[in-house]
């Protein structure tokens, strides 16, 4: 290997800084520094750093600076040879100013650097060998100390997982040239005892338990040899919770207090989620749980696919990259069913944004950092790849501080039966897309473990930065290849990398791979690293040799890399070679069926209060107005406009009901209505979501029922047919080995079954994420609340029948539709009220049997054009729903409540209810449509923009809409 000194050529350093003093990016850093308590910082000036390796003439330096690296109208540039004029940490202190510079760690993907090299060559600087990027901060403040700067750099300006920083000038690092490697380790598993097996599992971070390690040992004893590192790594990925859902497929012994005989569930997934879909047996479900995404019938010509994934642990340690690649991953899931991605969704859970630093567990990023990084990651991928990010949610709870949740969804459209999924013997194994690097090793096992303070350090390689434009190229090529019938099967490269994608595709036939054919970002990767790398933006295709030239042509047109790495064979085995050396040879049967079923025990505890149970409220005075304003300003309810607007929700031109509704587009829509390009009929789709961890804390089963109701209700509110709603489940849970945690999971999964069957709304896809816990350096486990996201995919027979939530016309009537049975269990009123007003302990809302009939009748009325607006009651209850409708229409409401307990009526939470605005000429028809169902006229829309609520002659509330809006728009 050449020594470092020989390989170091000249590096030119460019600093590009904005000319203006009020640079928004710098101002943003300053704002964040203050929010993190670093108030000694008075000013930050942020500049971009570029490092170019290679000998350059002065003219070349000038051309690169002027034509490539800076915009002469808005920015200044300075450049010098990096070795010259270096400052030490002490030098950079000039009076009250410090310099902090940040650069990526070696090996972290730097897409901008790649473009610099390409463009520099185009500009004639052929001597440019490599490039790097970084950031430079000049930090000013009278009382600022060096320690403050380290704090600022560590907490705000850099993330040690992917970046390093220095006070003063940073030296760029370029990957050192290394030799190709065929190093394979043999792991002597046959001779190990139980303790040795577990040590091996931990050393390789395999996340396999003793039972599973024993099964592997038994296999190799029958094979008469020991495994290679490549094999053990592949088995660990293939058998990870992330890939095979061991918990949901486990045999579970369910115990209940006071119950002598335990109940046995042979397979939780089959008994609940899958059973619901089979029972409902909807003819419009085209595929459920088979592929990476579920498929439903749409317009007679096309099928719609939908998938929601989580990317929690990566987002905890590197929020931008974690969320970024989460979006990229779920888009590939949809592309993996040969569908064109047409929309993205994101639901995010974070710790409270005002969490004091001192209370953070060790090694945990501040929730503000996590939120801004995650949102930026979603924005970057969705916007750049050209998907409207349309539907989302945001939830704050201290339980998410160390373990945020990032749910990324993707919707796709494809002609029915356009998705081939049968590789044939002789087909080539083709990798399309990005090159393979050391990035993202062991992601599947990483996501299947509890995190601790060291996770960031050890698993840093599990996180990578996405390259959305590379994935856009994949979409372009794959869709054309699909239409030309070029491939026989396709799978995305996700967790587990090639090992998982190729392993899955060869699981029916078998296949052979030449690992040295895989194109690498840089040489030196060991075979197991190539096989396991989770480098992003790759798809694997089964392509008959005769079709390869056609695929090659498409790839050249769209600047996509194609690599032929092997072929499918009817051998029943997967064989991987590196050059002449066989590094992996496994039987499909063992790899895919050899995982022993887990045996787990669950303890189901009854909720403290049964669902729907209420207690009479003490009679006393209440400040209803203050209570409503506090609710509107609660982070879970308040406007998400600031985030929604940084996502492009208009690209592709299919967003008909937008995430922001109303006259000023600042009110929250119930569901988004989409008519993606390529739609063949009048139909449109409603995308909705239901989630409520507050209910989960009290009653996991009822939470599941209620969030299914919420997903259905939201879709119905926007005009979807309640009989045509498909569901996706995403469970994010703690450690399933804890009996109570598993008990909550069993209860929630059964709730899912019962809720889905009740509404006739089948599950078409789902995903679970366990071990969402964090073992802090305080030795305490920090677990998340049981969190179930239900995503709804509804159908509107006619896009033009969509209804928005904003009040339309003064004089219209307003109806409360549905079985109104508010409770305070798990309510947001209980989270926001003064301690003295704390309601008594009550059950979470029950789901009442009349609800499905209500939705049907309401939908018929909406189809008949009787509703001018419709909005559901959710967190914060009736008063919040009414306030949001007023904000949307900039109109008032005058409501008369007959309820005995006005506080409960206004702020209690209920399932199954909506507010519907009906023009006077339709009220008789509307009442007829809902006859014999719970429906009452509550009041009237007023031109005076005030929300007024009265009860028994008393005015409870009388607030101007502007006041409501100010509370609702309180910045996050």
């Amino acid at each position: 290997m050449p020594s470092i000194t020989e390989t170091l050529t000249e590096v030119t350093r460019f600093v590009v800084s904005p000319r203006t003093l009020d640079d928004p990016r710098s101002a943003g850093f300053l704002h964040d520094a203050h929010a993190l308590g670093l108030t000694a910082v008075e000013r930050i000036c942020c500049a971009d750093l570029y490092f170019i390796q290679g000998r350059l003439t002065p003219t070349e330096v000038r051309v690169l600076a002027d034509r490539l690296l800076h915009d002469p109208i808005t920015h200044n540039v300075t450049q010098n040879l990096s070795a010259a004029g270096k400052m030490s940490a002490a030098d950079c202190v000039s009076g009250d100013a410090y310099v902090i510079e940040v650069a990526l760690r070696p090996g972290v993907t730097d897409p901008v650097a790649e473009q610099i090299v390409r463009a520099a060559h185009m500009l004639g600087s052929k001597g440019v060998q490599a490039a790097g990027t970084g950031l430079r901060f000049e930090v000013y403040g009278a009382g600022l100390s060096e320690a403050d700067c380290h704090l600022l750099a560590a907490r705000l300006l850099s993330n040690p997982v992917i970046q390093r920083y220095t006070l003063g000038e940073i030296e760029p690092s370029f990957p050192l040239p290394t030799q190709a490697s065929d190093a394979v380790e043999i792991l002597p598993i046959r001779s190990l005892d139980d303790a040795g097996l577990m040590t091996l599992s931990q050393e390789r971070r395999a996340a396999l338990d003793l039972n599973e390690m024993c099964a592997i040992q038994a296999y190799y004893r029958t094979e008469g040899r020991d495994p290679t590192d490549v094999e053990l790594e592949m088995i660990a990925q293939t058998w990870s919770e992330h890939c095979v859902h061991k918990t949901f497929k486990a045999r579970i012994r369910v115990e209940r207090p006071g119950q002598l005989e335990a109940e046995i569930i042979p397979n939780l997934f089959r008994a609940t989620i899958r059973a619901a879909t089979e029972t409902i047996d909807a003819p419009w479900v085209l595929s459920a749980f088979v592929d990476n995404a579920g498929l439903i019938e749409y317009d007679g010509v096309n099928a719609i696919s939908f998938k929601v994934e989580t990317h929690n642990h990566p987002s905890a340690i590197e929020p931008f990259g974690g969320a970024n690649t989460g979006v990229g991953g779920v888009i590939r899931d949809v592309l993996g069913v040969s569908a064109k991605p047409v929309a993205a969704t994101d639901v995010l859970c974070f710790g409270p944004q005002d969490t004091p630093f001192e209370t953070l567990p060790g090694g945990v990023l501040h929730p503000r950092r996590i939120l801004s990084g995650v949102v930026a990651g979603v924005q970057d991928y969705g916007n750049k790849i050209g998907l409207p990010t349309v539907s989302g949610g945001l939830w704050f709870d201290p339980g998410y501080t160390a373990n945020p949740l990032v749910f990324c969804g993707c919707l796709g459209i494809a002609p029915k039966d356009a998705h081939p999924h049968q590789p044939r013997p002789g087909d080539r194994i083709i990798v399309l897309g990005g090159r393979t690097g050391r990035d993202g090793l062991r992601g599947a096992t990483f996501s299947s473990m509890t995190m601790d303070a060291q996770t960031g350090e050890v698993s840093g390689a599990s996180v990578q930065i996405g390259a959305p434009v590379v994935e856009k190229g994949l979409i372009d090529v794959v869709l054309l290849a699909r239409d030309a019938q070029i491939y026989h099967a396709i799978t995305d490269c996700g967790a587990g990398g090639l090992s998982s994608a190729v392993g899955e595709m060869t699981s029916t036939l078998g296949g052979r791979v030449q690992l040295e054919s895989v194109t690498l970002k840089y040489p030196g990767l060991a075979p197991w690293e190539i096989w396991l790398s989770e480098a992003q933006e790759r798809m694997v295709l089964a392509v008959p040799p005769a079709s390869l030239p056609a695929l090659q042509t498409l790839c050249e047109r769209y600047t996509v890399e194609l690599t032929d790495i092997g072929q499918f064979e009817a051998s029943g085995r997967i064989i991987v070679r590196y050059g002449e050396k066989t590094v992996l040879d496994l039987s499909n049967d063992f790899l895919h069926n050899g995982l022993p079923q887990r045996n787990l025990t669950a303890l189901i505890l009854p909720p403290r209060c049964p669902a729907g149970q209420t207690t009479p409220l003490p009679t006393r005075e209440h400040d209803y107005a203050a209570a409503l304003l506090a609710l509107l300003a609660h982070p879970n309810i308040a406007s998400k406009e600031r985030i929604i607007r940084i996502y492009d929700h208009e690209v592709q031109g299919g967003t008909l009901i937008k995430p922001l509704a109303g006259l000023a587009a600042d009110a929250p829509a119930d569901a988004v209505v989409l008519r993606p390009p390529g739609s063949a009929g009048k139909q449109a789709l409603a995308l909705s979501a239901g989630m409520n961890p507050e209910y989960g804390k009290l009653d996991a089963r009822q939470m599941a029922l209620n969030v299914i109701d919420e997903a259905v209700r939201n879709a119905v509110a926007a005009g979807a047919d309640p009989e045509r709603i498909a569901l996706l489940d995403n469970f994010c849970w703690g450690d399933p080995l804890r009996r109570e945690t598993l008990g909550e999971l069993v209860a929630a999964a059964r709730g899912c079954h019962d809720g889905a069957v009740y509404f006739g709304a089948p599950f078409i896809s789902g995903k679970d994420s366990f071990n969402n816990e964090y073992l802090g350096s305080d030795d305490q486990r920090h677990a998340i609340p049981p969190t179930l996201l239900i995503s709804g995919l509804g159908l509107l027979e006619d896009a033009r029948a969509a209804v928005s939530m904003d009040l339309k016309v003064a004089g219209n009537a307003i109806y409360l539709v549905g079985a109104f049975a508010p409770t305070f269990g798990g309510s947001h009123y209980a989270l926001t009220c003064l301690p003295a007003d704390q309601p008594p302990a009550e059950g979470v809302p029950a789901l009442l049997p009349i609800t499905r009939a209500v939705y049907r009748a309401l939908h018929a009325a909406m189809r008949g054009g009787l509703a001018a607006a419709c909005h559901d009651l959710s967190e914060g209850g009736l008063a919040v729903a009414a306030a949001e409708m007023c904000i949307g229409g900039r109109l008032g409401l005058d409501l008369a409540l007959e309820d005995a307990e006005p506080l409960r009526a206004l702020f209690g939470e209920t399932t199954g209810c909506l507010l519907v605005e009906v023009p006077p000429q339709h009220t008789a028809d509307f009442e007829a449509a809902l006859s014999r169902l719970p429906c009452r006229r509550l009041g009237v829309v007023t031109a005076v923009p005030r929300l007024t609520a009265r009860s028994a002659g008393q005015i409870l509330l009388d607030l101007p809409v502007d006041t409501l809006r100010n509370a609702f728009q309180r910045p996050l």
Binding site: T74, Q379, N383, G386, V651
Partner: protein
């Protein structure tokens, strides 16, 4: 014969199909063509009567929005691009396409591009990417795309670098006076936004949303009229207030292309 529209496609282009749909509605025959096909001669510039540089994130907007696409256009396609513009055929650059036209010097004035760049599209004054609907006033009779349009156009913006700034601020006034400022951001009262956010969503000088070349055949604009070509795309359609379709602009361009 309906005019054929050449929609340039670079890695990262993503509103090409939105533009194709609008052009089709307006009566053209659009074709999305990867630059590599033009480079290899599989498609010829002269076979098209209109040229469209659609929105997206060409080359991920690395080093500045539209910058690397502009460089590529200058490096590999300077001749055919200049010829297309000089022929008088209609050219439109939307969002990323506008950024590439400005950064390659084809807008605002190719005659002055050999000297220092006169204008740029830089980071939004609000500091971040933003997606929202805006109202545009077509104010130029010079520009063949806006000529004769009297009604405002409603359509979304979705960009992070749409803030039009000039080296010489006075020169912006000259653009307005000469009719090169083709589209202005409007306030709800129907008058120019006067820089007021969010009506002028990015801080562009003189509320300029779209610029044309002195000849009037090349239009660049940040907003996306191609995403408002039917009523149900308008945010207020459920209130019966859909208005200002972006189709008018494309119809103008297609009609003009008919002569070539």
């Amino acid at each position: 014969m309906p005019p054929k529209a050449l929609i340039l496609f670079a890695p990262g282009t993503n509103r090409d199909l939105d533009a194709a749909r609008a052009l089709e509605q307006a009566g053209a025959v659009p074709e999305v063509v990867p630059l590599n096909r033009l480079r290899r001669g599989e498609r010829r510039w002269q076979d098209y009567q209109m040229l469209v540089l659609p929105g997206g994130f060409s080359y991920a907007d690395a080093l500045g929005a539209g910058k690397l696409l502009a460089l590529e256009l200058q490096h590999d396609f300077a001749g055919p691009m200049a010829e297309f513009v000089a022929s008088g055929k209609p050219v439109i650059g939307i969002c990323n396409g506008f950024q590439a036209l400005v950064k390659s010097g084809l807008l605002p004035d190719p005659a002055r591009a050999s000297a220092e760049a006169q204008a740029t599209l830089t980071f939004n004054a609000c500091g971040h990417f933003e997606c929202r609907w805006v109202t545009l006033l077509p104010v130029s009779q010079t520009c063949i795309w806006t000529r004769g349009l009297n009604e405002p156009i409603d359509c979304p913006v979705a960009h992070g670098e749409g803030n039009l700034q000039a080296r010489d601020p006075h020169w912006v006034d000259a653009l307005v006076a000469s009719g090169q400022a083709a589209l202005l951001y409007a306030a709800p009262d129907g008058r120019p936004a006067q820089g007021v956010y969010p009506y002028n969503p990015n801080g562009s000088a003189a509320d300029i949303a779209g610029l044309c070349n002195p000849a009037g055949n090349v239009l660049g604009l940040m907003p996306h009229p191609e995403d408002h070509i039917f009523a149900e795309q308008h945010p207020l359609w459920t209130r019966g207030l859909a208005r200002g379709s972006g189709l008018a602009l494309f119809r103008n361009g297609v009609a003009y292309a008919g002569q070539f």
